[in-house]
Amino acid sequence: MTETTTATVKIARSYRDYSAPLWRRVLLTRESAVIAALLIVILVASLSVDHFASPITMTYLLLDITPILLIALPMTFVIITGEIDLSVASTVGLSSVVLGTLHQGGMPIELAAVAALVVGALGGAINGFLITVVGLPSLAVTIGTLALYRGLAVGLLGTTAVTDFTEFWKDLAKSKIGDTGVPSVMILFLVLAVLFAVLLHFTRFGRGVYAIGLSPEAALFSGVRVQRTKFILFVLTGTVSALAGIYYTLRFGSARGDNATGLELSVIAAVLLGGVSIFGGRGSLHGVIAGVLLIGTLGSALRLASVTSDVINIITGLLLVASVVSTSVLAWLGKRRARQGNTARNAPAAPQ
């Protein structure tokens, strides 16, 4: 009896790079939906809300959401790996306090800023250590460090605030690029955004982040250093949060222990809205940035239209709920269609 084989003639196989045409790949995504929503909001607001389309509105809008924009960058990575960091706002507060206290104590502001960054990185490292080495769940750990870092911030400064920052720095924080109305701090943000985008989409490290989110076991078996990657991400989050804290302090000219309380929820809401899945493994930065801008723009437009700030909260919440529920519903519809059509698209692989 001879062996059973497929045809011995080797057919040279060719593969398409992509299974769907470019327009489908780009347009039929969560990110495109968010970007479209953003554009619609901008359009509608420019037409119907007085003063919305003026440069000064954009200035204040961007100045306001800069901390969220900054922190959303590393937070995206963290959530893609399937973890979460609730302590970011407390790190903002802590770095603000460190900056203020050291500066008040005589240290030049540049040095104090570096110290604040180091404190932020340290906070991230503690999170990272507890999560990767001790093996604790990130939700619980960062609830704990949320309290701890905020507590340290408030403890260090009490109820007082440090306000003697030089005009130079305060103005720098609020300065704009020429006549455009775009704040100069946007340059800082753009640089970071590009760096993070490159890191996520064009490096091994970034590939590893996605792999960890989709299948930590397979990632480990392929040589991805899972623990080290997660640790680095938490350190990055801590550092960027500290950076946001420095900006926040200088912009308002006041270092307080309770600065930016509650910010973590805005960041996470924006990241999730921007298409990053809470289950991990999916998402990209452009969607997240659009998500932050969407929430910020909506808030700004509503404020100008004299709608009270609570409505923006309701809308943010509704958007958040709608975005995750719709993903779930779409997935369910997809499975049903596959079952009925009996195609191989979503079928479980043949049992072993």
């Binding site: 059973t4 084989t5 497929t6 790079d17 299974s19 490096t203 091994r204 590939r207 191989a344």
Partner: protein, 512 residues
């Protein structure tokens, strides 16, 4: 205690011509089975023969596409596991799923706890019943302890206790002995026999012929999703069963060509990890295919994972081409030329939701990067090259790898590792869950690779594969290497002997 027999003429459970497909993949084309009361019925077949599909249909996890499913003569259609349970069917899996935080007693009675007034759970009564169940089974397990940390053997007993408390008439045991030691197997068999004597119908799925001949009275063979034959154990032999399982003369299936053997490439010395494996010593030369044979649960995959660096080991050394491989560091192992195609393709070998291109290039990202940057165009190029070399069947490179067939998935995993141009390839269950055609392709590929000087360590539970492909067979039993058999001396008997330290299945044995 005996349970009332069914109406005369009806088998406890019967399947006739059952089929099941998933999209274009046919898992079962015609499954047939007839379980009688007072009997333990073995179901055997190679991986991919359709056994687990049958089990899942019986359990209510899948719905059959066609054919008849009769329970006690009546047709049934279970749309959920709860329904099949209610109908009196219990399935004991290899990996029982219990609630780790809850006590043994609660696990048995969850959802059905005995109650007193006000709906209060009667814990004393519940505990008494649990103790009674264990007494009936002849086992001693502390009913109050949490199930966390219990051995698989004990967990299976608890599952059986659950089944009995539900008064299951049909018990299916899916490869229950895979992770059990000799003593635990004996205990399980004693329990099974007593259940049989009470009038229940049992089904026993296993790869181990000695167990099948020891425990069962009837055996059904399946192959490639089809029912082949049923016979009483007393009237058949291992050879006949193997022939039915494989469907062809075994020796010609695996075309291992003779290859010139080179130097020692992989040298493992004194590898030990307490509780898992001990004093593991072996070498693999360039061009050699060394097989690690043994029963499932013997520790082979653990050894492989430790060598590669995913699992820890406490003592011993691993060296490739003379260089020490640091422990617990897969990245370093990869750099030194080691590759591992893991046992669990879907969870360890692939990122199922990622594309073919990404999965294929996952291990060579470093070489594809320029100045630290990785472009998907380069990934696609490399993926195209390797996927076509292995003839992976997919429409596009960005197809999710989870949608490919088992055989093609395995090819992607192979492509991923071959792309790293390794010196040593460890491959764990190379053809598990793969169709016959792809199986032959994989074997031919491995043979070719050995011919080019690759050192291959192959773990396999399929004896024919081991005997056909290996230059040497290392047999592992309970974490130790008990035999090093050269190709010429390797036979089913010699390997099984070393793997179980008991004589191979007798050809005739009185049914107990």
């Amino acid at each position: 205690m005996t349970i009332s027999p069914p109406a005369v003429g009806h088998a406890a459970l019967e399947l006739r011509g059952v089929s099941k497909s998933f999209g274009s993949v046919v898992a079962l084309s015609s499954g047939s089975l007839r379980l009688e009361n007072n009997s333990i019925h073995a179901l055997i077949g190679e991986n991919g023969a359709g056994k687990s599909t049958i089990v899942k249909i019986i359990a209510g996890l899948y719905q059959r596409d066609s054919g008849e499913f009769l329970l006690d003569g009546e047709s049934c259609d279970f749309s959920s596991t709860a329904q099949s349970k209610a109908a009196g069917i219990a399935v004991i899996y290899q990996e029982p799923t219990l609630f780790p935080d809850l006590s043994v007693t609660e696990n048995i009675f969850m959802g059905r706890q005995p109650t007193r007034s006000l709906g209060r759970i009667d814990r004393r009564l519940m505990r008494e019943e649990a103790v009674g169940l264990f007494r009936r089974l002849g086992v001693r397990i502390d009913p109050d302890r949490p199930t966390l940390g219990l051995s698989i053997a004990d967990q299976q007993i608890i599952e059986i206790a659950k089944a009995i408390s539900l008064d299951a008439r049909v018990l299916v045991m899916d490869e229950p002995t895979a992770a059990l030691s000799g003593v635990e197997v004996e205990r399980l068999f004693a329990v099974a026999r007593s259940l049989r004597d009470e009038g229940r119908a049992l089904m026993f799925i296993s790869h181990r012929f000695d167990e099948v001949f020891d425990l069962c009275d009837t055996v059904t063979v399946m192959r490639d999703g089809e029912y082949i034959a049923t016979s009483p154990i007393a009237e058949t032999t291992v050879d006949e069963l193997v022939r039915r399982m494989v469907g062809r003369d075994v020796t010609n299936l695996f075309p291992k060509e003779v290859a010139p053997l080179g130097d020692d490439v992989l040298v493992v010395k004194n590898l030990s990890q307490p509780g898992v494996f001990h004093d593991v010593d072996f070498t693999v030369r360039a061009g050699e295919i060394v097989a690690l044979a043994g029963l499932v649960g013997a520790g082979r995959s653990e050894i492989a994972r430790a060598v590669f660096g995913v699992d820890p080991y406490s003592t011993g050394t691993v060296a490739i081409n003379g260089k020490r491989v640091p422990r617990r560091n897969p990245g370093a192992s990869m750099q030194l030329g080691l590759a591992l195609v893991p046992e669990d393709r879907r969870k360890q070998g692939l990122v199922l939701e990622s594309s073919v291109a990404r999965n294929t290039t996952m291990a060579i990202q470093r070489t594809l990067s320029r100045f630290g940057l990785l472009l998907s165009s380069r990934e696609n190029e490399a993926a195209r090259q390797w996927a076509s070399r292995l003839e992976v069947k997919t429409a596009a490179l960005d197809t999710e790898v989870g949608t490919l067939s088992g055989g093609n998935q395995q090819k992607v995993v192979l492509a991923k590792w071959l792309a790293t141009k390794p010196s040593v390839l460890i491959i764990d269950e190379p053809t598990r869950g793969i169709d016959v055609g792809t199986k032959a392709e994989v074997h031919r590929l491995l043979s070719e690779l050995a011919g080019t000087g690759l050192a291959i360590l192959m773990i396999s539970s399929e004896l024919p594969e081991v005997l056909g492909m290996a230059d040497r067979v290392l047999v592992v039993r309970e974490g130790r290497i008990t035999a090093d058999i050269a190709r010429a001396d390797a036979t089913a008997e010699s390997v099984m002997l070393a793997a179980t330290q008991s004589s191979p299945a007798p050809t005739k044995e009185a049914v107990r």
